[in-house]
Amino acid sequence: MLGRMVWLGPLLAIVGVLSYFTIFVNWPITRDVPWVNLLLLAFAVGASIAGFARARRRVLASAGLALTLFLSGFFVWYCYVFSYDLPSAELALDVGAPVPAIALRDDRGQDVELSALASDKLVLVFFRGHW
């Protein structure tokens, strides 16, 4: 039964990749180690191989298997290669350095001097932007 459902593997693979970016990225416990998605993709590969082994429609089953393997490979590459492609940390200001004298606009359009903030304890969070 399972083996004949050639669409099950690829469908699981699509869900396995998309649900990371739409759902599981929202919680550190499923984001930092993407275990839910890796599990879904493992089932997807298993189902696709089973589907391929038993399918009568070999062309469709092999296309499904190829899609599953491609999506799984993409996801592993994204998580463990691409997302680590950051500039060297050696260029970044280190502990002990003084705060640069810079003024930036806040979300209300007011100029804010970093050094004026930094007289207290300040947690400065650089993030990549809302895109």
Binding site: G96, D106, L117, K121, V123
Partner: protein, 112 residues
């Protein structure tokens, strides 16, 4: 986006630790206002479109945004958290992967 949301959920803990939260991105004032409103942030988000602060801290990730808006370079900040006290850097976290962010608990521990 979940990073700022995660920090907002712990805003009272940062307040109790006498620490001020401030975020910085290369986005425009208007985009940042949208982020503050949609996430209900109680802390400000500063706009650094010319990467002045990003470069001063040495955090430029050239081409880090693969789909920049028209006219933008696509250069953004690598994710980083700096703890600053008495106008000097006391602690920092530069993640190895932009997918993996520091736990707010670790920042709060560094504040103690």
């Amino acid at each position: 986006m979940s990073e700022l949301h995660g920090l907002q959920l712990r805003a009272s803990d940062f307040e109790a630790a006498d620490a001020k939260l401030v975020a910085v991105s290369v986005d425009s004032v208007e985009q940042n206002r949208g982020v503050v409103e949609s996430l209900g942030l109680s802390f400000p988000v500063l706009s650094d479109p010319d990467l002045v602060a990003v470069d001063a801290f040495g955090l430029r990730h050239a081409g880090g945004n693969p789909m920049p808006e028209k006219g933008a370079s696509g250069d953004i900040a690598r994710p980083a958290i700096y703890l600053i006290e008495n106008n000097a850097i006391r602690w920092r976290n530069l993640t190895d992967s932009y997918r993996v962010r520091v736990d707010p608990d670790d920042i709060l521990a560094a504040l103690r």
